[in-house]
Amino acid sequence: MSTLLDQSREDASRRDWQHILHIDAVLLVSLFALSALGLFVLYSAAGQEQTVLIRQLVRLSIAFGAMALVAQFRPQWLQRWTPWLYGLGVVLLIAVLVVGDIGKGAQRWLDFGFVRFQPSEMMKLAVPMMVAWYLADKRLPPDRLQLLVAGVLIVVPVLLIAKQPDLGTSLLIGSAGFFALFLAGLSWRLLGGLGLLGAAGAPVLWHFMHDYQRQRVITFLDPAQDPLGAGYHIIQSKIAIGSGGVFGKGWLNGTQAHLEFLPERSTDFIFAVLGEEFGLVGISVLLVIYALIIIRSLHIATQAQDTYGRLLGGSLAMTFFIYIIVNTGMVTGLLPVVGLPLPLVSYGGTSMVTLMAGFGILMSIQTHRKLLTT
């Protein structure tokens, strides 16, 4: 990794622009490239509407602004405020369940009058931060008691979010916490045990699922069973991707997308539009950019100088990966339909800001390092 991204083996004594601005050039360029590709696909998916493009541009600007802002905070400062952020997040999650607005059949929003706020978004950052904070001064790998405490720190918000219900976000937050633990050295034996426990707990989970969630699982297992209902999404997106072939039907020429066969084509299912219009080649370009971002992020984590930075950075990198794999897996019919956007490509606001704030943290970790002897 370090050989791949050679320039990151920087000379800290040289105070270049990256350190002055607290920006990582590799990440920034990759994210820009990703956003540009995303805008292209979105323009087509949204039926060539400029207003959609402009709104997405505004959101991207805000998101990149948030990234740049967060990158200015020293990791140590973030670490100090972590428990407060986490605590606030849990309180707000409880508040959402009590007084939250219902949007699309789920309680996710808190309405402060002037702004509507989704506490679960905050937890996407707060949970990995909290796990990293908790393990920061522990000796790694953590012992069982520490794992238990960390587990509780993860599971409480996950359950609160799942109750809203927001399966996608709780999955994402759960994996963020899990990867923090995994990177901290969670033993393979325990991992295997957890896996078994999970398998055994599946029927229990089924019992607690909402009807629409159960339906999604059933539909995933057999989409043909309900071709005009819930299975329609999957069938049509598979047709879109499959009919794209290697080179695609060409930009703005996706019949599935433009003739409105493909549902949610500018949001969760935008990957299918990419697959239809740009083919396997277009998807490969996207995946390469994603891979670049993930590898660079993991690299930054390995270069971090303390446990907090390492665990948090690594967890954020892997959360980004989970975003991608859950969305693409869903759109290609490998995974059940879970409402997660394709990062920086899908049309939509809140999650983009959180995501970019995460990259801001990574940049902060990268650019606030102290000079060390090697």
Binding site: L183, I241, G242, V246, G314, M318, F321
Partner: protein, 616 residues
């Protein structure tokens, strides 16, 4: 290890983290590989499959029904055309509450009970995803009212189309026939693909016989649709080929005069051009308005037509089988001459009745006092029965059957209007087969005067008369003269089929019979001399009176005391002018009484109308 519990080992932790990072990356790589594998499956291996599905999704084939050919009379007067019309259609599948939709619709357009009944009937026999018509011929106002409220009625559409229309209503309805909605039976007989998008098909008459010509060829457009099935653009368009127009031999003006000439009488008349067999008028009365059938006749109207004792739906000219009565005599007489059984000078004494040798039964002549001594000419002119009893006996049933058969009696003429019946020309074989009985000589007698088993249709009588006028030349009767392709003003005449001619042994025999028929009209004792008066042209005719039921030997036929249904049919056949026949005609007036009193004057009116016009 226990000794180092409290101090953090940065180096080993860093190594551990590095190791775990690689493992996480490996995990991610594996999942990405799975994803890529999936994409290769979808986009490379199963690409063809999904391309097909994608095209199926977006490309639909829409049929473009051809416009039906028009029907004109011989002078270019339009008899059947297509009018633009708007109909209201409902696709049941898209309706959540049909009753509610119908009640709301009824506030915008006029929906009668008959519309609802028809809608319910059609709906039950139509797949739910196909539109069912609720109303036809919407007024402009109704179209406008609905258009404004269109958005309130998903699944309800106004469809513009062409609707068959018969501008002259009942005129020549039995010849033209009508179109109606395609039903189950039609579906079994047609090439369904050619009829996609077409709702109507010829049901009877010319509309049925010339269905293929009139229909044309269906066209298609490949259209791209969105998920809702809305057409976005046309990819390929194969235009339909409109049906060919038909030009009839029928003369609408003559037809009208002929129908009017019948007054309130029921019956039939067929007027033929003997030169080519073209039908100039084709009357069957009472008639009906074919427009009623185009868009589905309602049950009450249909039942009233069906149960009408005058049977307006019955095509008498084609399917009415009447005893020819005395109109058969010229043909029998010609047979006697041609076969050498008799000759022009031979005389028979008519005492008013006829007896078979050794039998008591008397076969009566219509003139109780008898005609005295008659030869063939006076026998035809005065319609002496006894002469023909005697001639028939001399010829025998076999010879009569064989000879009359050459004129087309007892067989379909093959006219190009569907549903023709054959009539009946009896023979020994027929009687043995149909009745299981031997032929009796008495039956030969009454066959000689066109009574008994023998039955003819008006089209047969007209055709046989035309054959007589043309000295045996038989032309197949037909009503369609030529066809016209839609973008070409030129007409393509249809082939006129000649039928095996009646062999001529001696032309004078024919001239003799024709002269006798002229005598009917213009002779001093002719049965229709009053009708032939002042014609300005010479007519050869023969009256006939056909008994509807048989009188017992001692019974008297008294019209006054008989139910009208039992009155004799009045018949008349003729052609004119005698020297150069331009028209042949057969008239049957049901229960009209004597031929000379009722049928012959109708024929005269028709002949006058036709012959007064300058020859084209």
């Amino acid at each position: 290890m226990a000794g180092r519990v409290t101090i953090k080992d940065y180096l080993s932790e860093s190594r551990l983290f590095m190791q775990r990072s690689f493992q996480a990356l490996g995990f991610a790589a594996i999942l990405i590989a799975v994803l890529v594998g999936r994409l290769i499956y979808l986009q490379v291996l199963a690409h063809e499959h999904f391309i097909t599905l994608s095209d199926d999704n977006r490309i639909k084939i829409l049929p473009l029904p051809p416009n039906r050919g028009l029907i004109f009379d011989r002078n270019g007067l339009i008899l059947a055309d297509n009018l633009p019309s708007y109909r209201l259609e409902i696709t049941p599948e898209q309706i959540h509450d049909m009753d509610d939709t119908l009640s709301r619709l009824s506030q915008l357009v006029n929906i009668r009970d008959v519309d609802l009944k028809r809608f319910t009937r059609l709906r039950n026999s139509t797949p739910v995803f196909k539109p069912v018509p609720l109303r036809f011929h919407l007024s402009d106002e109704e179209v406008a009212r609905f258009a404004i409220n269109r958005h309130l009625f998903p699944g309800v559409d106004i469809v513009a189309g062409l609707s068959r229309h018969y501008p002259h209503g009942p005129l020549a309805a039995h010849a033209l026939g009508y179109v109606g909605r395609i039903d189950e039976r039609d579906l079994q007989q047609i090439d369904v693909a050619q009829y996609s998008g077409t709702t109507h098909i010829g049901k009877v008459g010319i509309e049925k016989t010339y269905e293929q010509t009139l229909h044309g060829r269906v066209g298609y457009s490949q259209v791209e649709t969105n998920a809702e099935g809305r057409v976005l653009r046309t990819l390929v368009r194969t235009p339909p080929v409109p049906g060919e127009n038909l030009y009839l031999t029928l003369d609408a003006e003559l037809q009208n005069v002929a129908e009017q000439a019948f007054g309130d009488n029921s019956g039939a008349a067929v007027v033929i051009d003997p030169d080519n067999g073209g039908v100039l008028a084709f009357v069957s009365l009472p008639t009906y308005d074919p427009n009623l059938f185009v868009n589905g006749i309602d049950t009450a109207t249909y039942e009233s037509l069906r149960d009408d004792s005058e049977q307006p739906l019955f095509n008498r000219a084609l399917r009415g089988q009447y005893p020819p009565g005395s109109t058969l005599k010229p043909f029998v007489g010609l047979g006697g001459l041609e076969r050498g059984v008799t000759h022009g000078g031979a005389k028979t004494f008519c005492p008013g009745y006829y007896q078979l040798p050794g039998k008591d039964r008397r076969y009566r002549d219509w003139k109780r006092s008898g005609h005295g001594s008659v030869d063939l000419k006076s026998a035809i002119a005065e319609s002496c029965d006894v002469y023909f009893y005697d001639l028939a006996l001399s010829m025998g049933i076999d010879m009569m059957h064989e000879y009359l058969g050459q004129f087309g009696f007892g067989a379909r003429t093959g006219i190009d209007i569907s549903g023709e019946l054959a009539g009946l020309l009896p023979s020994r074989e027929w009687k043995r087969g149909a009745r299981g009985q031997a032929w009796y000589p008495g039956e030969t007698l009454i066959t000689g005067i066109g009574q008994g088993f023998v039955l003819t249709t008006p089209i047969q009588l007209a055709s046989a008369t035309a054959t007589l006028a043309r000295f045996g030349q038989r032309m197949k009767p037909h009503i369609v003269a030529s066809t016209q392709i839609y973008d070409d003003p030129g007409l393509t005449p249809l082939q006129v089929d000649a039928v095996t001619a009646v062999p001529v042994v001696e032309r004078p025999h024919w001239a003799e019979v024709i002269d006798a028929m002229r005598e009917v009209m213009h002779g001093r004792h002719g049965t229709a001399r009053k009708v032939g008066l002042d014609a300005g042209y010479e007519i050869a005719g023969k009256t006939g009176t056909a008994q509807v039921f048989g009188l017992q030997p001692e019974e008297e036929y008294e019209a006054d005391t008989l139910d009208r249904k039992l009155h004799d049919h009045s018949l008349f056949v003729a052609f004119a002018p005698v020297q150069r026949p331009r028209v042949a005609i057969a008239v049957v007036v049901e229960h009209g009484g004597s031929g000379s009193a009722v049928a012959a004057p109708i024929a005269r009116t028709i002949l006058d109308q036709y012959l007064s016009k300058a020859r084209p």
